[in-house]
Assembly symmetry: C2
Homo-oligomer: 417 residues x 2
């Protein structure tokens, strides 16, 4: 359970460190926020109940949820809450509270009302989230007692909170920044979890975002929507859309610095949030169950087709095992792209791996021995980039994905029982 | 490389042994057919070039090919042949001849003309097929020499031919039957290969079907189409559509027994072909790279939705690893179904595993401890059946799929290099 060194938040070459930003300790919270994580006994061991609260009455919020038709009870309950004016969120790991009918909905409601009561809030001001095994009863009494204990343990950092939301994560995923805006300094922080059941939207992932900047609800809503699309919606570990995905963003305003819509400050805040969420999203992929390597596939061409082609490459177990093997077997990339383009021959596709072109108009280039060596070195790196051009114009997308490893198989063959 | 015991062709409980049929040695060929497999040096070791010929000038044929937009050169060449009147097929394993542009097309053409010349046929009467690594040059001289050697080695059984078409297969997949028709006895045989890159149509699989019954071209076309749909199009190892899938069916007529359209004999022959192809298809799944267990998911409900739901379950790495772990983690089945039904809530779905209902209207049932034990035993069997009912009516489908194992990861991380 190693921590993220505070000095190297933006470790991925695919994330541009934002301007006007200074890194804080990764567990820092913006002014006016408190959080805690406790061991409620839902998991066999470790922290499993988390509580996050914004003390400012004028807090605005935004949220995003899974698109799966099978929706977890906490997602159903959260959707009915006052999503633009949430003040807190109560989370548990170890059990996803899915497929448990009225009982599960009752437990998610108890999760909400217990947190509200402990924090002196209306239930409508509390969001709830769960992550863990599906289709098992979530022990309500343990959860309720855990939330009450967490309310007693609230502190001004996210250290224990960010651990309490983990399932198969190798470690916490979090980051905090101080931003220089025209009106003064504000803080921005986020804590995420997620490893398996990731994609095609934004994964069995949870993310909690806090800022002490003052924002209009529409501004927070806009920034959250745009940055989630560019981060958690662009990753895939195993092509599996979770029943529990949730992102909650809070702006409390305790810094006293207001961010006006369409201002330079909004841009600074937006870019910082974008960088932070992209970095956390890539960390989720890098921590994809058993992952050893992260790949970015960029697809350019027909606007309708770039997305299915990128997803087909990212979710192909053949591409993912070749990535594990550091094997420049690019025929599998072409095969996956061709599958997504089924019925749309001719297959006039270009492919480059780390800038070295390997296919031109659907035909493999005759590489020199030295080029093969170069390719083999490139695909053995921790981050690998693929650039694919398909017929058509106007579209461009990217998907970050992990390799498929023995640890993924072991973790998921043994997870529930 | 174990052989199929002649007495136990229909090993799967999901295949009804056909009426009026007697099993022959699995390597048997119908009268008028000859075949051979030789070591041409395309693979590092083992047989890798196969040739099959029907001696009767009046032979009729039918064929089916992959839907991938990236099409192997042999598929392109075969599609231009006289597909209703083929007399022979020349096959190689070890290299799929894909993405090699004009050179690859030239090699596939040489494959066709060499076989035609060695057999005294027109090139238009010869189909070609390849299987193996993608996007590498297929050594043309080795292939040509191999075909010439195979033409010299033709025999009246399919033993070496069915071995020459294998790639990562653990053993040959083949079967032969003698059928009692109203006009006398006919033989029916098929040889298939396939293990990885399987689905969603009919897989990196090749299948060659022979009968010495006399059939009109339309009858063979019809029988081939229907039975391929019910067999190779209903399996998935890894959700990957190959660039090379090919099925070739030949009816030579050497038995002197004619099968009339819409006759009782056509039904007997059709049912036998159906059983034979379903058995071979299930063997392909059971031999899915590293597979240890085969699962059938049956989905009933809305006609448009049964197929995507069945595919989502069959291709979920979470469902497939749970199957490996003999873990009755049915929440993952529900999650995968919900992903395919995204945007179509409410999620009113029933699920039974081996006849034991575990979900009703989207809610997990409270199982007794004894029922959990029963479930755990059921999912540890070599064949596991799932029955899923989704909203809507009129649709029913099935998909056979394998588990995702460490051997799949090892095989595919190391395959090309």
């Amino acid at each position: 359970m190693s921590d993220t060194p505070a000095t190297t938040l933006f470790r991925s070459r695919w994330v541009e460190p934002p301007a006007n930003a200074r890194e804080l300790d990764s567990t820092a919270l913006p002014a006016g926020f408190r959080a805690a994580g406790v061991a409620g006994g839902i998991k066999a061991q470790g922290l499993d109940v988390g509580l996050l609260v914004s003390d400012a009455a004028e807090t605005v919020s935004a949220a995003r949820f899974t698109a799966n038709a099978l929706v977890a009870a906490p997602v159903s309950v959260s959707r009915e809450a006052d999503l633009g004016a949430l003040r807190a969120v109560a989370v548990n790991s170890g059990n996803a509270n899915v497929s448990d009918g009225e009982r599960g909905l009752g437990t998610a409601a108890a999760q909400q009302t217990t947190a509200a009561s402990a924090l002196g809030l209306e239930p409508q001001a509390v969001g709830v989230a769960s992550t863990g095994v599906i289709a098992r009863e979530l022990p309500r009494q343990k959860l309720v007692a855990g939330i009450e204990a967490a309310a007693e343990a609230l502190a001004d950092d996210a250290a224990s909170f960010s651990e309490a939301i983990m399932t198969t994560d190798r470690g916490p995923k979090r980051g905090a920044l101080e931003l220089e805006l025209s009106g003064g300094r504000v803080r921005l922080a986020a804590q995420a979890k997620g490893a398996g059941m990731m994609s095609p939207r934004f994964a069995t992932m949870l993310c909690f975002i806090e800022t002490d900047a003052g924002l209009a609800p529409e501004t927070l809503e806009l920034l959250t929507g745009v940055t989630v699309k560019r981060s958690f919606e662009r990753i895939s570990v195993d092509g599996q859309l979770s029943t529990n995905d949730s992102v909650f963003a809070f702006a409390g305003g305790a810094s006293g610095v207001e961010v006006e819509p369409e201002s330079a400050d909004e841009l600074v805040l937006g870019q910082a949030l974008d960088a932070l969420l992209r970095q956390l999203a890539i960390e989720i992929v890098a921590d994809g169950e058993g992952a050893s390597r992260v790949c970015r596939v960029v697809v350019r061409g027909d606007t309708e087709l770039v997305e299915p082609v990128a997803r087909a490459v990212a979710n192909s177990p053949l591409v993912k095992t070749a990535l594990l093997g550091a094997d420049p077997n690019f025929g599998r990339i072409m095969q996956a792209a061709g599958q997504a383009l089924a019925g749309r021959a001719p297959f006039v596709v270009d492919l480059s791996i780390e800038g070295l072109q390997v296919e031109s108009a659907g035909t493999a280039l005759d590489l020199e021995e030295s080029e093969w060596r170069e390719l083999e070195q490139a695909v053995a790196a921790p981050e690998v980039e693929l650039d694919l051009t398909i017929p058509g114009e106007g579209g461009e997308t990217e998907v970050f994905f992990s390799d498929l490893t023995h640890d993924y198989v072991s973790l998921n063959a043994d997870y529930s029982s």
